[in-house]
Symmetry: C2
Subunit: 182 residues, 2 copies
């Protein structure tokens, strides 16, 4: 008998879920047929076991869980992992990227990044360098878990958006010139 | 008779040539055939009249200027304008973009951009605002001529690469905090 083509459903997951792993119960409605060919609707719960480090596009197939019809093999049900936007982090492979808004004074005189990780820990990262516009602070091991070995993790990469003052007084301009000897 | 497929040749042009317009003489070698079908090589000079504002990808076709062969219509010769990289400007449609490297002190206390245009004029553009990392100074009418009406021109967009000091002394840090009152 012919087989119906797969039925695909998107499963939106938060970065937290993809970081820690999660179990999602999906309620599906399908038609099943008895021996006579008469169909009746049933509801079923399918369980998706999301592993730490799964990426957008990961597919989970439940074979032949589609509607039953006479003379047809039921379709496969395919769930496709999608990644919901996160308010703090974006993902780049196994790396996490975050943007900190800081003032020019903070960029020049010192700044400590305070962040909550995806598993709820508090990170405090003091930066001792001058933070220039393309500066990136890389924190090894604070990225996403790697799918093949979730004990290993990617990097956290912190970028900076430096807010300049919109106007300087002539005293401030003179002071800057004096401080930097030009 | 069948016609040979077009022969394409790239013509690299400088931004200056595409700004002002230019005449390019292209020397080509081709075979021509006499009535008996005997072919002999000849050299010809083709003139390409590059108009101000022409863009990369513009095609100029010289019909049937390819090799002559018995029982074939000679191929068209097609010249395709390409844009050579420029040391100062990049092109974005009708706009010209340039990047100025300036110091943080210049960004904060004032800076004048001095530029030579593609037709050799000297531009001096004083900037009275604080120049932040994504600041863009737009100079109307100093971009590329528009192909349909070369008296009209796009914008010149000046971007800035602000070089931060790599280290600050504790006196400089204290001074910055004092100047910006934080």
């Amino acid at each position: 008998p012919r087989k119906s083509s797969p039925v695909e459903t998107t499963v939106p997951c938060s970065l937290e879920e993809l970081y820690r792993g999660a179990t999602k119960k999906m309620k599906i409605s399908r038609e099943i047929a008895d021996i006579s060919g008469k169909t009746m609707p049933v509801e079923e719960i399918l369980t998706i076991d999301i592993k730490p480090g799964w990426k957008k596009g990961t597919k989970i197939t439940f074979p032949e869980k589609g509607n039953e019809q006479p003379n047809m093999v039921p379709a496969d049900l395919v769930f496709i992992i999608d990644e919901k936007p996160h308010s703090v982090f974006t993902r780049d492979g196994n790396d996490l990227i975050t943007n900190e808004k800081i003032s020019l004074v903070e960029a020049l005189t010192g700044y400590t990044v305070n962040l909550k990780t995806l598993d709820g820990r508090s990170l405090s990262i003091p930066i001792n360098n001058v933070i220039h516009p393309s500066y990136e602070e890389v924190v090894p091991g604070e990225g996403m878990p790697m799918q093949k070995d979730p004990t290993k993790k990617g990097n956290l990469r912190i970028k900076f958006n430096i807010k300049f003052p919109s106007r300087l007084t002539s005293e401030q301009k003179a002071g800057i010139k004096r401080l930097f000897g030009s």
